[in-house]
Every structure is written in C-alpha cells, then in structure tokens.
C-alpha cells in the first residue's frame, strides 16, 4: 500500500514504514531507549531526505516519550524539579541546534553533518557501553573483583548555583543538569534523536542520580525538547512530515509493547551488550558510507535556501 508523503514529496510503502516503526519500537521497548538513533538512518536509507527524517523524527519522539513517561509517572519515577532544570538548558540547546541545522542546510553540509555526528556519538557511547557491559559480565563470573567507590567527587561538582533536588537526594550545581539538557537539545535538533542514550549515562555517572529515576526524568525532559525541536524545525526549515510521523508512531507504539515484554526476559548485562553491539554496528555502517567513494559524487537539491 503506497502512501504519498506531502512534505517529503515522495510515495512510500506504508507497510514498510509501519514495519520499520514496529521494529525500532520493539528494540526501544526491549532496551528502554528512544530508538531515534536507529530510525533516522533507516529513513535516510529508504530515500527520505535526511533533513526531513530528522524533523519528522523529532515529532514522532514527542508521542513516544509522552507514552513512555506515563508509565514512569504512575510509578513516581520522575524528578520534576531536576527535569525542569534540564529542560531550561534543553530549550537553549534546541534553539542553537536548529539554528546550526539551518546554516548547514543552506551551505549544503547538513547530510555530512548528520552522518558525522551519528558516527561520533554512536561510536563513542556504543564502545563505552560495550566495554562496561562486558566488564559486568566478566565480573559476574569472578565475583571477587573490587567494588568501585559509590560517589566520586570531581571538579564538575564544584560548580556554582547549587540546588537541592529532594526527589533524587542530590545537592548539586544547577549548571550540571542544565548543561546535560543543552547537549541533549542540540542532539534532538541536529540528529533527530531524543538523546536518551547519551542523557541516561550522563545522569547516572555525572549527576549520580538514583538509577530508578533516570529513565523517567530523561523522558520527561525529552518530551519538551522534542516538542520544541518539532516547532522550530516546522517554522524555520519546514521539514516535519506529519503523515510520516503518524505511520512511524503507530508502528512504534505497537512494537514497543512487545519489546517491553521481550526485554523482561533478558538479563541486564546481556541486554546492554546487545544494545551496545547494535549501536556500534550502526556507527560502523555510517562511517563506512562516509569513507567509501559514493556511486555518484554529484547530488542535486531543489530546496530553496
């Protein structure tokens, strides 16, 4: 069944897009990540212009994070105060990101910039996760290994503007969560991802937040950064295709339900190791595309700049 996408100005197979949404939704439900980092490359692969893939993905993520946060909210796993502080930084990051995006689009470097940021972030985070998960697996077999310190004091914790976050039992500088939020916002705008895969480790390792609150709080602030990114992308770059977003959404929501159930059967370290391999594989594929000589070194664009 073919469906015409009014903004991307192309016709796609609805079942294919639904299936892609379902697959990514399944994986995101299984591993508890947004899955944007998989969806954007997939969309580009089926011929959706990268700029539209990113803008639309932001819109789809609004819905995904709303439905995700509901479950966490009911269990009281959202630190609203910390989320709001992150959000303030996130807003600034999103505005800066969309601005950078429009400049890159004008000078014709947006595709390379999107791919490069994917290779960099996915490669770094994926490798770190892989090392960490393998260590955890090995540690389990050799339980005599030393236990690390619970709280490490680094220079980041000496920043001014200290605030107390009761829910997370933290007393830290507000600049820290705001800064993490700002980087997340930029990722949403430039890469079309929620940034959960970067926010979650940052909140655990830099803020020392209780792990139980991390997913809900990061999703809470992702709702707002993705909403902001959607708004700005629609207004400045006109790259949000609601028809495509709707298809992805339906597939994603259904897939996520099955994924969550499947994820329950996986052990933590195994799941993390699998996710890490997936992330690294995507990064390698994208890096390969950048280095390989393209079939045609010429490209055309009809978008008005």
């Amino acid at each position: 069944m073919q469906v015409y996408l009014p903004i991307a100005e192309m016709s796609v197979n609805a079942l294919l897009v639904l299936g892609m949404g379902g697959l990514v939704g399944f994986l995101s439900g299984m591993f508890g990540v947004g899955g944007g980092f998989l969806m954007t490359p997939l969309l580009i692969f089926i011929g959706v212009p990268p700029a539209i893939a990113v803008g639309t993905q932001a819109n789809q993520l609004v819905a995904a994070s709303v439905s995700g946060v509901l479950a966490h909210w009911r269990r009281g796993n959202v630190d609203v105060k910390l989320g709001v502080v992150m959000l303030l930084g996130g807003m600034v990051g999103t505005v800066v990101g969309v601005w950078i995006f429009s400049i890159l689009q004008r000078i014709g470097q947006i595709d390379a910039a999107i791919t490069l940021s994917y290779v960099f972030f996915l490669g770094t985070i994926g490798t770190m996760m892989m090392v960490e998960a393998s260590r955890a697996l090995i540690r389990r077999r050799a339980p005599t290994a030393k236990r690390g310190k619970l709280h490490r004091h680094i220079w980041l914790h000496g920043l001014p503007l200290k605030m107390r976050f009761h829910r997370s039992k933290l007393y830290i500088s507000a600049l820290l969560p705001a800064g993490i939020g700002a980087i997340g916002g930029m990722l949403v705008a430039i890469m079309g991802i929620g940034g959960g895969f970067m926010l979650v480790p940052a909140m655990i390792y830099l803020l020392n937040m209780p792990t139980g609150l991390v997913a809900g709080t990061s999703l809470f602030q992702i709702i707002f950064t993705t909403a902001m990114a959607t708004l700005l992308q629609a207004a400045t770059n006109q790259t949000v295709d609601v028809m495509l977003a709707l298809l992805l959404l339906i597939g994603g929501v259904v897939g996520a339900q099955f994924g969550t159930k499947a994820g329950g059967r996986l052990r933590g370290e195994q799941a993390r190791l699998l996710l890490a391999s997936l992330v690294v594989a995507v990064a390698l594929k994208l890096a390969f595309d950048l280095v390989m000589e393209p079939n045609d070194v010429f490209t055309i664009s009809t978008r008005m700049s």
């Binding site: 073919q2 469906v3 015409y4 009014p6 903004i7 100005e9 192309m10 016709s11 819109n59 789809q60 609004v62 819905a63 995904a64 994070s65 709303v66 439905s67 995700g68 509901l70 479950a71 014709g108 470097q109 595709d111 390379a112 490069l116 709702i223 909403a227 959607t230 708004l231 700005l232 992308q233 629609a234 207004a235 400045t236 006109q238 949000v240 609601v242 028809m243 977003a245 709707l246 959404l249 929501v253 339900q257 950048l290 280095v291 390989m292 000589e293 393209p294 045609d296 070194v297 010429f298 490209t299 055309i300 664009s301 009809t302 008005m304 700049s305």
Partner: protein, 259 residues
Amino acid sequence: MSAVRKGAGRLWSVRIAGGLVGLLAGVFLAATVWAQQLVADLSSHLIAITTGFTGTEVVLFGTTDGAGDVAIVVTGPRTPVTVRRKERIAGIWINARSVRFEQVPGYYMVATNRPLDQFVGRPVLERHQIGLPNLQLGPREQLAPDQLALFRSALIRNKQRAGLYGITLGQVAFLGERLFRTNIYFPANVPTGLYNVEALLIRDGEVVSAQTTPLVVSKVGFSAEIYDFARNQPMIYGVAAVIGAIAAGWLAGAIFRRV
C-alpha cells in the same frame, strides 16, 4: 465647424478601428489555418496527487494534415537547482564545489515517431529545446566550459535516476498516416506546477506547426491541505504537529495500560 471636424475625426477613428479588426481577423484566420496542420490533446489536463498517488500515465493523441514527423516535448515548471560535488576531504566524502542552475525543468520528456537525427537538424533542435543536449538550464556561475558540462550532465543524470527526465526517447505511434498517440508517464515524485506539453509537426527538417497544451500537476485533498498548511502557516503547523503527537502518545499510553 468644430462639430464637423469632430465628425471627420470620429470617421477616421472608425476606419482605423475597422482596418485593425480586418487585420486581426486575417491574422487569426492565418493562425487557424496554420494550427490546423496539427491538432493534439491530452486525455487529462490535471494530474491530481492524492494520498494514494503512485504515478500516472497521460495519453496524448492528435492528428496531422498529412505526412510528417511529430515530436512531443513535455516540460515541467522551471525552478532553481543546486548541483553539489562531493570531494574527499580528510578521508571522508563531503560536499565541496556547487553550481546553481536557475531554470531547471522539474520534469522533461521527449517523444518522437522515429530517431530525431533522421528528420531534423541541430539548429531546429536547439531553437525548440528538443532533447536533453539542447535543454537550456540557465547556469548562474561563470565556469570553464568543461567544468560546466560536468555539472550539467550530473544534474541530468540525477534527474534521470529520479525518473523525472527521460532516459530514452519516448515513442509516438502513428495509426495510419495522420493519427498519432503517445503515453507520457509521470512518477510518484513528480513536482507540482504548470506543465507545457508541446506537439511539433516537422516536415523537411522544419517545424511547420506547433501546439502547446497546458497540463497541471497539483496536490489535492488531504495531502494538499497538509502541504499548504505547512508552507503558509509553519508555526501553527508545528504547534498542531506537537499537539497531535502528545494526544497520540497519551492515547497509546492509555490503551496499552490495560493490555
């Protein structure tokens, strides 16, 4: 006195007007006679892009007043296009050089009843922009001819890959000596706007008759509404997209809570 002069003046103006009408009538008649050498029309003058649009075919049919060759040239709306060349910089391929063409048809297709070089010469092809080599694209930058040719051919190659420029000549089929028809295919990614469908009758290497028929490609229905909404009120469109997504997420959360 003045009344008489006025009367004479009026008489003169009537005569001039009468002469003009006669002249116009003559021109019109001549044009009609000239145009009657070839008459062509399309099976449809509107291609409607709906949500289920997957491309469509339009039949062009017509008749000539005798032997001769027919060339059909379909040209889409002309817009600026930027052609970029990737270069290897620090090991990766990124866009480097770019050339902007100001007058690039979004769609271009030529159909004839036999190969062009068998019945028409270069000057006529160039004058009427028949065939990809004779298409004028309006490059903006001043470039060395060999460089420009490289970007020009890359532009055409990319358009052909997208299915928007004909790779080969289309076939005009004659039924008997006078009746002809051809099928023009428009793919799903066909750009919207006003198209020109030109039918040319060529005898002894010269265009003896030409007829231009307009064709409109337009988004209609739901997809048109979304497109116009996004273009004309981008901010409100963005707000609507966000509200829709929040509602959808909420709904999904509510539905699957019970599952």
